[in-house]
């Protein structure tokens, strides 16, 4: 690392989208739901560094990239390029920025203009930025991305190139303006495995040869070690873990990273890998509050200190309340199945439908009384009863700790016990109505 300032600093960046509203919402003048696609992301990119951002589809990684190149407005936070925040950019600064921050897109089959030859595609950015010596520069770049001899490729159109060759042209196009930063969005995911390695190796080489920094975005942890020294794992708009690549792959700390790493197939019939126990898919990033992003799928979610409960049983109670809060409990369907029109029968049916694990004592009676409220049609009371007893520390406070130097994990399992107890004690303090849940816990977090 040089002593210079970082090339790119991302400071608590947020990008929210407005969700759909229907006519009723408009009449009632309800605010449209905010989709928290990128929700408070911070990172720095040093000169000549390559950082990978890894996550499942829908985690916000592509939104992050589009926000970085100015395709989306910033909702909050800032991006600082070599000391100047983009919020202070004038038109000339933007042009300069766009020249120095280049993108390689996911799909080489659609990201090149089919009507342009390789020469034209590569020369276009030079035209736009008024750089001379075009022919020389184009040939030089073709050589760098190993499309040789240049004559063979210069006059071809994309249809006459293989996937790997197209992606090399895209890389060349990104490099031709001699940028400081390359943002790569799943650059090899559309390529056959036989060429993936070649393209990755080439990109890696170019980063070190040309003093370029890179943010590499991908869903694929298995190839990330070939391209980046640092990995940031993203889930629902936030980084949940950030560490040096090799160490993260060997010993993932966040339960989500663990699940991601453990779900990667190993090409070896003699190796007996355990399949992931995790189920479901990420929820929609709407109204997720300030708690841990992964809490609704986490296999290790932390129960309040003062209750004694089996992890899987607790998981079910938590999920059930999440369903209730998102109005996803299919009460009508269950009512249809139960033919006897009796409250206790309905309560039994709900319990059978959503709970496989047995609860005991106070846990059981709390659940039953909540389900009874639900059967009576009082969802809010049901939620409140469940929340009062079962609310987890994972729901209330945003965890973010440095587990080891250069290793950040956003998980209460890796915080000191002190902090956990404090947060846990505050957790039962949620008597507000369900609607103000998010703001309530923000305020709560700030109080600490």
């Amino acid at each position: 690392m040089s002593t210079n300032q970082p090339v790119l600093e991302i400071k608590n960046l947020k990008k929210y989208f407005e969700g759909n509203t229907d006519i009723v919402d408009m009449i009632m003048r309800r605010e449209p739901p905010q989709i928290q696609a990128v929700d408070g992301v911070s990172m720095t990119l040093e000169e000549n560094e390559s950082v990978a951002v890894i996550g499942e589809s829908g985690c916000g990684k592509s939104t992050l990239l589009r926000t970085l190149i100015g395709l989306h407005d910033i909702s909050a936070g800032d991006i600082v390029y070599k000391g100047t925040p983009v919020s202070e950019f004038d038109k000339a600064d933007w042009k300069e920025y766009r020249r120095n921050v280049q993108v390689i897109f996911q799909d080489p089959f659609n990201s090149l203009n089919p009507k342009m030859t390789v020469r034209e595609s590569l020369a276009e950015p030079l035209d736009i930025h008024g750089i001379g010596n075009k022919e020389e520069r184009v040939r030089e770049v073709l050589e760098q991305v190993e499309l040789q001899p240049a004559e063979k490729y210069l006059n071809r159109k994309p249809t006459n190139l293989s996937g790997g060759e197209k992606q090399r042209v895209s890389i060349g196009r990104a490099l031709i303006l001699d940028p400081d930063v390359i943002l790569a969005d799943e650059p090899v995911s559309m390529l056959d495995v036989s060429t993936q390695a070649a393209v990755l190796t080439k990109m890696k080489e170019l980063i070190s040869d040309f003093d370029v920094s890179m943010i590499y975005i991908s869903h694929d942890l298995s190839t990330v070690s070939y391209i980046a020294e640092t990995v940031k794992v993203m889930y629902l708009g936030r980084f949940v873990e950030s560490a040096p690549t090799k160490r993260l792959l060997e010993d993932p700390k966040h339960p989500y990273t663990e699940a991601l790493v453990s779900a990667i197939p190993v090409p070896d019939p003699t190796y007996d890998r355990e399949r992931t126990e995790m189920s479901g898919a990420p929820r929609d990033p709407i109204d997720i509050g300030e708690g841990c992003r992964f809490r609704d799928r986490c296999p290790e979610v932390i129960p309040p200190d003062d209750i004694d409960i089996d992890q899987q049983a607790y998981r079910e109670v938590m999920s059930f309340r999440e369903f209730l809060e998102r109005e996803e409990v299919g009460l009508e369907r269950i009512e249809k199945i139960v033919e006897v029109n009796e409250r206790s029968a309905l309560v039994d049916a709900i319990q059978r439908e959503y709970f496989d694990h047995e609860l005991t004592g106070k846990n059981e009676s709390t659940l039953r009384s909540a389900l009874t409220s639900l059967a009576d049609g009082n969802e809010d009371l049901a939620i409140e009863r469940l929340r009062e007893r079962f609310e987890s520390v994972c729901e209330t406070t945003p965890p973010e700790v440095e587990a080891e130097p250069e290793w950040h994990v956003a998980c209460h399992h890796h915080t000191g016990t002190d902090r956990r107890t404090v947060a846990g004690g505050g957790g039962t303090n949620a008597t507000d109505d369900s609607g103000s849940d998010a703001t309530g816990s923000v305020a709560h977090a700030e109080n600490q």
Binding site: S162, G164, S194, A197, H219, Y226, A263, P267, T276, S279
Partner: protein, 352 residues
């Protein structure tokens, strides 16, 4: 795992195109036994999907089986009419999990209605029997029986995928063909789906033909594998044998091209170019133009499929230079050789 369930013998499938007969599958042979999970691997353009479509008579209008046989339980089925296939084979004997399975449920029909449609076409079962069978299968794939009357949108993505598996299984087929069932899915979802596919093996004794470009999932889930390159089966055998002892250059290069999370810094193999489109008879090794060890004899005739001669009698390969090539490859990539990486990179320029 005993009697052969499906025997594909010397099968050639061609498509009629403006520029002549395009050969998608050339003299391919393999056998799937009862209860066996069989993987068919290869890059895009290798002909693996064509092969699977040929088995259930689902080729496009311009496609035809030019020669060879497909036997199901000893009976030749390649010449059966569409009606016969529908009445006797499809779904109750051989069912299908399509590529892009996530979008293959009809959004306007309840899952149970889709099952009834399938059941009414392919069996004489009553509606009630069909519903019961669907309920049983829902249970196996980890869905609540009460949800068979839900619409697809009421399921999450992973549950939809399981509903599709249930639809492929509820008529108790002997063989399920799954064409890239998890491609384009996130790893966690992929892992969940394979968890349920694994379970089928234990609980239903069903056979699976898994078609995928991802050899990692085949090595994990299948008993046997065939590796296909541009219409030809390059190598086949048990996954253990093919993994431990690959002989065809395409087989070992393809295998080594896959990253392994246990060795994050291992040099990945690079195979130049892409599978060629082949017109007319394929009377040469289709890998010859991409093979670093190709010799004139590779282009002189289609390589015969021969036993590798290891512990696995089913382990066969179609390479005339199988011994030399493997030895040269091994000496090139031995751990002491630091030039392995440089060599891979040097080979990177692609040939068209």
């Amino acid at each position: 795992m005993s009697d052969p369930l499906l025997e594909v013998d010397d099968l050639t499938v061609q498509y009629e195109t403006d520029s002549g007969m395009l050969t998608a599958t050339s003299n391919a042979s393999f056998t799937i036994s009862e209860g066996e999970f069989f993987g068919l691997a290869g890059e895009s353009g290798s002909g693996k999907s064509t092969l699977a479509k040929a088995i259930i008579g689902g080729l496009d209008d311009n496609g035809q089986i030019s020669s060879g046989t497909i036997k199901y339980r000893g009976e030749e089925i390649q010449d059966l009419s569409d009606t016969e296939l529908s009445q006797r084979i499809r779904w109750k004997e051989i069912s299908w999990i399509p590529q892009g399975a996530m979008s293959s449920l009809d959004p306007l029909q309840r899952v149970s209605e889709q099952a009834l449609e399938i059941g009414n076409v392919h069996t004489d079962l009553t509606d009630e029997e069909i519903r019961d069978k669907l309920k049983e299968t829902f249970d196996i794939v980890g869905l609540q029986e009460s949800r068979i009357d839900d619409y697809p949108h009421q399921f999450s993505g992973g549950m939809q995928q399981r509903a599709i598996i249930a639809l492929a299984l509820f008529l108790e087929p002997e063989l399920v063909i799954a064409d890239e069932p998890t491609t384009a899915l996130d790893v966690i979802m992929q892992d969940q789906i394979f968890k349920y596919l694994d379970r089928l093996k234990d609980e239903l004794d069903v056979s699976l033909l898994l078609i995928t470009h991802d050899i990692s999932v085949i090595f994990e889930s299948c008993d046997s594998v065939a590796i296909m390159h541009a219409s030809q089966i390059a190598e086949r055998g048990t996954t253990d044998a093919v993994h431990a002892n690959p002989r065809h250059p395409y087989a070992f290069m393809f295998k080594e091209a896959f990253p392994d999370i246990r060795e994050p810094k291992r040099e990945l193999e690079v195979i130049e170019g892409h599978p060629p489109e082949l017109m007319g008879d394929v009377d040469f090794c289709s890998f010859a133009d991409r093979c670093p060890w190709a010799a004139p004899e590779c282009r002189a005739g289609a390589p015969p499929t021969e036993s590798v001669g290891d512990d696995d009698p089913s382990h066969m390969t179609a390479c005339v230079r199988k011994e030399e090539a493997y030895e040269m490859y091994q000496s090139d990539t031995s751990p002491s050789d630091d030039g392995g990486g440089a060599q891979s990179i040097a080979r990177m320029g692609e040939v068209d």
